[in-house]
């Protein structure tokens, strides 16, 4: 205990704090980037999954299989698979890119389910109305269905991304200089584990908690029908 207290001024130097802030930024950046790209690709996946016709059957099966399979593989295993796969096909891909790709692969599987749920919440009659007006399948999705589904999709998608901030800690395993990696480094330099990992936990908390509150606020706000939001 005394050792921990004695290390206090040593540990909380500007240099260490700046280092932690930088790593926290990296953690946020790769989560945000991975989840955003993942969200976009998940939209494409969900759209492809609804392709009609017998010829598209393999495509639909592939889309369903992707979601089912990647939700059942640990993130750590996905990271290693991406790392070793990319290293065998290309030589100079940064570890940061590998982390983002791993996050992206995982985010697609999870957000695809969220997006599908949101799209199914739009009444079928809206789609029929669009069809009867000769809007194409893509136009129907882009102009009518998706705008109505987004309020249902966005809150849980944000909740997923926020909870994934924590899971990215595993990326430290392949040596990306994010928050957890810094923690291990500082611990190896001789700083107390309680002090280091307590601080790191607190850093994650500072990122995760306010963002999760923001997500809950958005959920409440988006749940209000537009009519009530306008006439205020």
């Amino acid at each position: 205990m005394e050792r921990i207290l004695a290390q206090f001024p040593d540990f909380f130097t500007w240099k260490n704090i700046a280092l932690l802030a930088e790593s926290a930024g990296l953690t946020l950046a790769m989560t945000l980037l991975g989840c955003l790209i993942g969200f976009g690709l998940a939209l494409v996946l969900v759209y492809l999954r609804t392709t009609p016709g017998l010829w598209a059957l393999p495509l639909r099966v592939a889309c369903i299989a992707y979601v089912e399979v990647f939700r059942r593989i640990p993130f750590l295993v996905v990271i290693y698979l991406v790392l070793f796969f990319i290293q065998t096909v290309a030589s100079d891909v940064s570890l940061f890119s590998i982390a983002v790709i791993s996050i992206c692969i995982y985010a697609i599987a999870y957000t695809a389910d969220i997006i599908r749920g949101g799209i199914e919440s739009v009444p079928k009659t809206q789609i029929e109305a669009a069809q009867a007006m000769n809007l194409s399948r893509f136009q129907t999705m882009r102009l009518c269905v998706l705008p109505q589904a987004l309020p249902v999709i966005i809150p849980p998608a944000i909740a997923f991304a926020v909870s994934f901030i924590k899971d990215t800690a595993l990326v430290s395993q392949i040596g990306v200089f994010e928050l957890t990696f810094r923690g291990k480094e500082l611990n190896n330099q001789g700083y107390s584990g309680v002090l280091v990992f307590g601080t790191i936990a607190f850093c994650y908390f500072l990122m995760s908690f306010p963002l999760s509150l923001l997500g809950q606020y958005l959920e409440k706000r988006l749940a209000t029908p537009r009519g009530q939001r306008h006439s205020r």
Binding site: T125, C144, Q148
Partner: protein, 244 residues
């Protein structure tokens, strides 16, 4: 040549057969009404005409050209010529009234937005909704939404307008504003096929009434003949209950 000829069409809803051979004709500028008990397939006829429910047999001719509902391109052509207004209006909730009306002409026909919107405003004026052009559907009453839906269908410049129980979802005091809009269209010579439970209105506005039951046409003719001196027991029984 009739404007719309429906020849012996059959349709299934899932595995259930709902239309077993429907025949009728609509002349140019004529208003024809489909009446009958619920579940008799009236709405299915309209849905089949715009390709929302698949037609399994029979043929449909518009202006003498027959439509092959198995071919996507033909279905598109059919939707170009016939527009449908739904019981539940089905306005796009995420768009303003004006955008709802101008959407298809800009996106499907690729016309200029300014020009389409000017036309849309005229149509909204026709149904008395121009003052709500920038409102969202959930800010309007059912009757107002239905009038917008009619304007939206007209914006497609259809040759034939299909109206599917357009007043059934409305509160009684809102029914007349919608019926007035339809009356105006009828007086302007629009060819219309309507499904309705408003018997007095059907009698007033249509030149022909088709009585359907269990997916078949039981009898058809001028409103006076069908309503006052029905030939079939089924029609007599039905109108006896409905007209009282």
């Amino acid at each position: 040549m009739p404007h719309l000829a429906v020849n012996d069409i059959h349709a299934n809803y899932g595995k259930l057969a709902v239309l077993h051979g429907i025949d009728f004709k609509v002349d140019r500028g004529e208003v024809v009404s489909l009446v009958g008990p619920s579940g008799s397939g009236k709405s299915t006829v309209l849905r089949a005409l715009v390709g929302l429910t698949p037609v399994t047999a029979g043929s449909v001719e518009v202006d003498g050209t027959s439509i092959d509902y198995a071919a996507p391109r033909a279905v598109k052509a059919a939707r170009d010529r016939m527009a449908i207004v739904f019981q539940q209006y089905n306005l796009f909730q995420n768009m303003t009234v004006l955008r709802n009306v101008s959407l298809a002409p800009t996106k499907v026909k690729g016309r200029k937005r300014a020009e389409v919107e000017a036309e849309a405003m005229d149509l909204l004026k026709l149904v008395g909704m121009d003052h709500k052009a920038h409102a969202y559907p959930d800010e309007l009453s059912g009757g107002q939404q239905q009038r917008v839906a009619i304007a939206r269908a007209l914006a497609l410049k259809p040759e034939i307008l299909l109206l599917d129980e357009v007043t059934s979802a409305l509160d009684p005091e809102l029914v007349n504003e919608v019926l007035d809009a339809i009356r105006r269209l009828a007086s302007e010579g629009m060819t219309m096929l309507l499904v309705s439970h408003e018997m007095a209105f059907v009698r007033e506005v249509s030149s022909k009434v088709v009585f359907m039951d269990a997916g078949k046409v039981v009898e058809a003719g001028p409103p006076a003949a069908i309503f006052d001196t029905p030939k079939s027991d089924r029609a007599r029984d039905f109108f006896g209950k409905v007209l009282r």
